[in-house]
């Protein structure tokens, strides 16, 4: 990973965030400095007082197929489906979609807690969890497909079923880096002609009682993580495609924290990226301890270039965060007539992800 042998045309995008179902205008919204987290309605009773960047309402199902599937979809799967619908529409891709690859960073959040409660309640015997009752009545008390809300791949598969994407695919577990691998794999699949077009991105939510409890326990909340949720996808065409491109993907890399500190990795990557070519930077880091040192490196290396910190307006949506940042970068590029935008992401896994988008005419 690193500079791509052939730039990959981005012909559309879809984004779902606390600011609605749109990627165009996101950079302006986030740059205006007026974004603030709202009381987290999903956490009102479990974690009162928590503020988050969350969607107030989910879009109505876009088709009969989705209407049927919706009760079996986790919140992350619904977000993914909304972003898929938006990206397909933005790219002008219509059925049949058998040749569309689909690569998604996914998390483990989102199963219905009401279903979980029902299952557990039916498994209690005199106030104690009973394995016998669990086997006899536990899952029988909830939807038998409940387990599929919890399995990571169904965030991807539900969207594929609803929208009919049938190409090569993979769901990468992600707390940051996995979403970069989804994009990298999509690029490789296009380069190897496994598919002629692909969707790549991420979908996840940390505005979920169980996930938030875990994040609190791990100390992320105390260190400044603000929960968020969303989904975003880039619609990528084959490098030889003559489709009209919004922009081009020209660089994707992941830097393992096992190898070097993120700041060191960012500095060396910036040297290799030719800093003069970068007009703006989008930074998506889970909180101040990750953001501040990276912002300092950017400020030193790219003096005077604007830096947009998207976590301030989107929160941390785990597997979705890097992908949302890519769409913000795309919006910057398209709306401000820039030449090249670098998107830096730092998730909970500690690794660093770098993506560069550039303007330019289609081949």
């Amino acid at each position: 990973m690193g500079p791509l042998e052939a730039r990959v045309p981005i012909v559309g995008a879809g984004a779902v965030s606390a600011h609605g179902v749109a990627w165009r205008g996101l950079s302006h919204t986030l740059g205006s400095g007026v974004c603030a987290p709202e009381p987290a309605t999903e956490l009102t009773t479990s974690h009162p007082g928590t503020r988050a960047f969350q969607l107030t309402t989910l879009a109505e199902p876009s088709s009969m197929a989705e209407r049927r599937a919706r009760p079996l979809m986790s919140r992350s799967a619904v977000l993914a489906s909304m972003a898929t619908s938006a990206a397909l529409q933005d790219a002008g891709w219509r059925a049949p979609l058998a040749d569309v690859g689909f690569y998604l960073g996914v998390g483990a959040s989102g199963g219905s807690v009401d279903q979980l409660g029902t299952m557990l309640a039916a498994s209690l015997d005199a106030g104690e969890f009973s394995l016998e009752r669990f086997g006899d009545r536990g899952l029988a008390a909830c939807n038998p497909l409940f387990a599929f809300q919890l399995m990571n791949n169904f965030t991807l598969c539900n969207s594929a079923i609803v929208h009919g994407t049938e190409g090569p695919n993979a769901a990468f577990f992600s707390r940051g880096t996995g979403t970069l691998f989804a994009l990298s794999e999509a690029v490789d699949a296009l380069a190897e002609n496994d598919c002629v077009r692909a969707l790549a991105g991420g979908a996840d939510s940390s505005v979920y009682a169980v996930t938030w409890a875990e994040l609190m326990r791990e100390g992320w909340a105390e260190r400044g993580l603000v929960p968020g949720e969303g989904a975003a996808l880039l619609a990528l065409a084959h490098p030889t495609s003559s489709a009209r491109a919004l922009a081009f993907l020209d660089y994707v890399s992941v830097h393992s924290a096992r190898r070097a500190a993120p700041t060191v990795a960012l500095q060396s990557a910036l040297d290799a990226l030719s800093p003069p070519s970068i007009d703006a930077v989008v930074l998506s880091a889970w909180g101040p301890p990750a953001r501040d040192p990276l912002a300092a490196v950017v400020a030193r290396a790219l003096r005077g270039r604007p830096l947009l910190d998207v976590a301030n307006g989107l929160g941390e949506s785990l597997a979705a965060s890097p992908a949302l940042a890519w769409t913000v970068g795309l919006d910057l590029l398209c709306s401000q007539d820039l030449g090249r935008v670098l998107i830096v992401s730092a998730g909970l896994d500690g690794d660093l992800g770098l993506v560069a988008l550039s303007a330019g005419a289609s081949p």
């Binding site: 479990s46 598969c157 090569p168």
Partner: protein
């Protein structure tokens, strides 16, 4: 784009029939099955009371994915004897979430209250002690790949692929691609499943996916569902041909985009993944197929239909078997152990039989390997893995010329 050849340098596994891959080979060749009654916990009211579990090594309450994966990876790594700079080593693992212990489940039940609706307020108040009982490092799907990366000093790409029953095969696809495109020189790939636990047994049982008879017999007329198995299978791939006898020449993936639990009845998605892998390998056919073959009525019939469709009239010449009759269904590890069986066939000319397959279903008309291992000069093999949700992954491996 330049494309390097990808060689198989090492294989390792922990299976219910052997502590190592080497130990597992003879029982698999004999057609033995590891499926047995579950004794580790009370299954009297469970929909299925048998499994192909790994006994004796692990506590029921611990997450076993890592222990299984580490042992399999060490065997594969030792066999491979590869050397590479840390930044040129990648790890690609198929894994699903681990499970919290039963003690944590009890805490969860208490925290959520005993009412019929989830008590958010109670849960919130009690969430901290609950969460403290859940070790995120053992529950996260990424925990296995991260731990292996630490042990084997892999500073290259470290990926966790979670697409249910195709995860292990998809991880091999990712590793192959990464070596092929020069993103790393050595890839530790594979999958692990540790699903012989109450949650998974009840979950799959309620779906009606498990065998009520308690027999895993892929493609058999009497098949009535799968049997949960567990284990880990690991492969070391390398760009270095030194001592390599096998190479991965084809990869393919597709989505059914059809149904959450049922395969496309025409086998369209499965067929596309197989065709893509064959095309990638530049082949029209292979000498052997290690099928996904779960022992569920619909899956086996659809897979057989897809194989016949892909290979046309030559299907009758291609031996087919499924290791799930012997080892049960490892879910995230399934495709990886299938790969090892296919590798054994190509390298040693020994085709494992489909254990428990005694009365082949005419609807699953294929050239099945029955009884004991068959001997055949095999130059190439196809590995199939098809998942709940409709994700499919296939690989072609060949003998090195």
């Amino acid at each position: 784009m330049s494309r390097r050849r990808v060689y198989v340098a090492g294989l390792g596994a922990v299976t219910p029939l052997g502590d190592t891959w080497a130990d597992s080979i003879e029982p698999l060749a004999q057609g033995r099955t590891a499926v047995a009654p579950i004794t580790a916990f009370d299954v009297r009211h469970f929909p299925c009371g048998v499994a192909a579990g790994i006994q004796g090594h692990f506590e029921l309450t611990s997450d076993r994915r890592l222990a299984l994966a580490e042992r399999a990876a060490r065997e594969a790594w030792m066999m491979a004897g590869v050397e590479a700079a840390p930044e040129r080593v990648g790890v690609f693992i198929g894994a699903e979430s681990g499970r919290a212990s039963l003690a944590t489940l009890l805490e969860l039940a208490r925290a959520a209250g005993a009412a019929h609706q989830f008590d958010h307020a109670s849960f919130g108040r009690k969430a901290r002690p609950l969460a403290a009982r859940v070790d995120a490092s053992s529950v996260s799907p990424a925990a296995v790949a991260s731990a292996l990366a630490r042990e084997f000093r892999a500073h290259g790409p470290v990926e966790t692929i979670s697409i249910a029953c195709a995860s292990g095969a998809a991880a091999l696809v990712e590793g192959t691609r990464s070596v092929r495109l020069g993103e790393c020189d050595v890839a530790l790939c594979g999958g692990v499943g540790a699903d012989v636990d109450p949650l998974m047994l009840v979950g799959f049982g309620r779906l009606g996916a498990l065998s009520a008879r308690g027999v895993s017999c892929p493609f058999d007329l009497r098949r009535d569902g799968f049997v949960v198995g567990e284990g880990a299978a690991m492969v070391v791939l390398s760009s270095n041909p030194r001592h390599a006898a096998l190479e991965v020449t084809g990869i393919g993936r597709s989505l059914d985009a059809y149904h959450l639990t049922k395969p496309d009845p025409d086998g369209d998605g499965a067929a596309r993944a197989m065709q893509q892998a064959l095309q990638d390998a530049g082949r029209a056919t292979v000498d052997y197929i290690q099928a996904h073959g779960t022992s569920t009525p619909l899956n086996d019939e659809v897979e057989a239909k897809a194989i016949r469709r892909v290979f046309g009239s030559s299907w009758a010449d291609i031996p087919v078997s499924s290791v799930k009759g012997a080892l049960g269904h490892w879910v995230a590890g399934a495709g990886a152990i299938g790969f090892l069986c296919a590798a054994h066939a190509v390298q040693h000319g020994s085709l494992f039989p489909t254990a428990n397959l005694a009365e082949p279903d005419p609807e699953c008309g294929l050239r099945h390997v029955l009884g004991r291992a068959a001997s055949l000069d095999v130059h190439s093999a196809l590995v199939n893995a098809f998942a709940f949700g409709g994700a499919n992954a296939c690989l072609v491996l060949e003998r090195v010329n």
